[in-house]
Symmetry: C4
Amino acid sequence: MQSQQKASPISNIRKNRIRATIRKIIFDADTPAGKAFDIGLFIAIVLSIVGMMLESVKEIDDAWGFQLMALDWVLTVLFTLEYGLRIWTTGKPFKYIFSFYGIVDLLAILPTYFTIFYAGANALSIIRSVRLLRVFRVLKLVQFVGEASNMAKAVKASANKIIVFIAFILIVSTIIGTMMYMIEGRGHGFTSIPRSIYWAVVTLTTVGYGDISPATEVGQFLAMCLMIMGYGVIAVPTGLVTAEMIKSSSAIGENKTAIEKEFSNITCPNCSSEGHKSNAKFCSDCGQSF
Amino acid sequence: MQSQQKASPISNIRKNRIRATIRKIIFDADTPAGKAFDIGLFIAIVLSIVGMMLESVKEIDDAWGFQLMALDWVLTVLFTLEYGLRIWTTGKPFKYIFSFYGIVDLLAILPTYFTIFYAGANALSIIRSVRLLRVFRVLKLVQFVGEASNMAKAVKASANKIIVFIAFILIVSTIIGTMMYMIEGRGHGFTSIPRSIYWAVVTLTTVGYGDISPATEVGQFLAMCLMIMGYGVIAVPTGLVTAEMIKSSSAIGENKTAIEKEFSNITCPNCSSEGHKSNAKFCSDCGQSF
Amino acid sequence: MQSQQKASPISNIRKNRIRATIRKIIFDADTPAGKAFDIGLFIAIVLSIVGMMLESVKEIDDAWGFQLMALDWVLTVLFTLEYGLRIWTTGKPFKYIFSFYGIVDLLAILPTYFTIFYAGANALSIIRSVRLLRVFRVLKLVQFVGEASNMAKAVKASANKIIVFIAFILIVSTIIGTMMYMIEGRGHGFTSIPRSIYWAVVTLTTVGYGDISPATEVGQFLAMCLMIMGYGVIAVPTGLVTAEMIKSSSAIGENKTAIEKEFSNITCPNCSSEGHKSNAKFCSDCGQSF
Amino acid sequence: MQSQQKASPISNIRKNRIRATIRKIIFDADTPAGKAFDIGLFIAIVLSIVGMMLESVKEIDDAWGFQLMALDWVLTVLFTLEYGLRIWTTGKPFKYIFSFYGIVDLLAILPTYFTIFYAGANALSIIRSVRLLRVFRVLKLVQFVGEASNMAKAVKASANKIIVFIAFILIVSTIIGTMMYMIEGRGHGFTSIPRSIYWAVVTLTTVGYGDISPATEVGQFLAMCLMIMGYGVIAVPTGLVTAEMIKSSSAIGENKTAIEKEFSNITCPNCSSEGHKSNAKFCSDCGQSF
């Protein structure tokens, strides 16, 4: 940003002014124009995802295939334009390009271009659904981000316990899966050990598809043990998360208003970082003034 | 009410007295007559719902179709009468008509009349099951209402977290559903992306019908990841609600007797509002005296 | 008891002494003989249940049917003898006959006698499995009874909330079940409203058999909503019970040793009541001395 | 150990030195060589398990059967070598042989040798997956062991309650299973009482395969009751574990650093016991100096 401001003839000043305006619209959700842009973008994202889903339904694709393809191309061109503007207006393009949102934005437009060479590539554009996370910006629901980060914290705090828990599930599933492979045999759907382990996980997590199910008495008895175990084991993650939440819930209650006050919707136009205080005058990551 | 009291010849006084008596019976659950009315109404509602259910069973409909239809018409006429009396006796008919119970009461009788023109309309009368909520009035179980409102409060307090949680489930289901659509293909039941997302929700919530289930190794592996995730994610709503309940449980304990004392079964005959204190002399919403 | 002690010639004294000895063996689990009797009784109960289960397996019944029937008759005669002795030795026979255990003991022997007239009656003897509750007496595990009663208390304390919760599940299932009946129609297994409600409960509780599952897009969407709701609603009973348990857990910790000390395995020979203090000299219910 | 040190000519001193070095590598995870050995061992264990799983997939076994068998034999010989070295270098061989890890290590190599006589024996080598528990040693994740032992403690503290809970599930399943056997009969998959009990457990734990499902109205009604019960009963283990975890969570927070400091990766070379303090100079079980 600094380097560009040094070399500034009159034509460049104008160009910079346009750039700054676009930047404000694209990156800042607090102005009316910025909010309108975010809502429009969100609608476009939802439209493109719904279009892609409908395209996968054979009957709809047969009847409306051309229109859906046209919609997809129009939206892709708009997303490409938006991506270009973001790179152009941001101060540090590389920081944006390699940021989480930068990569997602790029991955969201590439699949459509790939369909020129390979028709099936279109399905890859499901990556666009990750862009739905922008909804929280659109709705100016800072407290949602606060809730999400609180929940993420609770999960993080129990990370060690969760790893032990998943390791336990996998070892139990491996042992019981192999036992079932030996007991039931290939005739009852337990055609290999990996498939038997798949069955054990399906049972232990109480999903229970029924695509594979024990048919011998011994197998059914073992399955019963596994089910009761799974029924009890589900208490462990619940207990962990609940204990964490109770610990942090009083803290949340006290800090919520503070969090809401503190954080704004400002995205740094220079380095694309988010989560700045609403009364911030400079970017806390790169020093860019707002 | 006021306007009607102004114009009152002797015949009108009598009429008003009858109206007041009926009003007391219909709207007030504390008098013996009112209680008998509420119990009778509740039995009629249950009868009409059971009748409608039985009508949908082909064997029963073939044998008892006429009797069930007759029962439905008798009950509908009674409900219409009750609806008319409520409008006539209440002070502010429009307030009752557009209140929650007023709309439900109307919707409960309309479907039967529609069957004159279109036979299938009968099924719409399931809306009557909402009227079952009157059971709490009948049983004079004010504490149930207190419990329900406490539970609703706990849910409301976690509303933001629940929205983040549902958004998380939907985004995960969309991404994994699309991946499964690409991995498994149309041959194994994953015929479209919406259907694959349906499968992902069935799996993540540990319902697991088995109408669609992965058959390839990669698909089964991805399904296992989704199941273990779903098994752990169930901890989040549980943790939320539990934390809320523990927070409020001491408060509930202290306030329960107070709540029971405070609230009565009185419904304002003027504006149909409920939840008045048992020692209330005037409606807290419209000033009508009891 | 008193009336019998008045009329006592020498032969009667002897008879009374035998009766008192048998009474001690049958009703009291603290003496070695009483303990041996209880263990033997427990083994006999387990044997009779296992025998009945095996009889229901066609292959086993074909090969060992006669032996199993013989075993059943021998055990039934023994149980009848035990039942007779209990009536004879207890002071107040009618109190025993109409007590919980008295009724269960009678129901446990009747089905076998019924098989003389009707072969299928045998299956009714599953009521014997209720007698397995005696295991807690046998193992002298008074603390288990303490735990069970604590858990029962926690459930009782949340009884109101649980009723509201079950009412909520039933009303939601009724409404969504009827909607599915209208949407999916008879072609996809939703052949009647009761069956559709059954499907709704199967889905809401995350059991998910898959014997009935939605096949239309609208039905699958509605099912997804129901599943996510069910996934969240499971948090409610968990939250309730957890909150109760946390409240009572400190109290349990302090009182456990006290409970263990206080209660014994003594059953009053006069009135068959249980749960007397181990240092009790008289029955707290009828004043009978031990 | 003492007896061997008494009789020590010069050649024996050398032998002892080699033995001590190997012992340090095998039993101690704190030196670089020991860590490298543990990582290599862990990779070998994973390799052998993956190999065994792949062997069970028919297509892979047809194409790569020989290579997989060769890999299995190479790994088995290496494991045998390791087992021999452990016996040779440890001071008290019998203590190691009959320790938990000693038995698992032996069971892990035996199945492959059995395949010389009986081909199917190979599947028994799944016992190797128990050896995966060594992963916690490899990753030097002492805190994981701490977490696991804390969770085990929470489970142990609720042991009595869990037994009551499982007894409750089994008795309910037995009674309802038998009732369903009588209601549904052999035509609908409820071919015997044990199979009906299996169905009841599948339903109560909300697994719901759908391999057996009720088809009559009465059966479906009973199934609905069982499901709602199961949906509520799941709250009990969750409540138990959560209450325990909340009780212990503050204690965990305070003691974690202490635990990490206290325990080391040292395995006693004399008696194979683990869990010694990191500043321990002597084995706390046998007095062997480190």
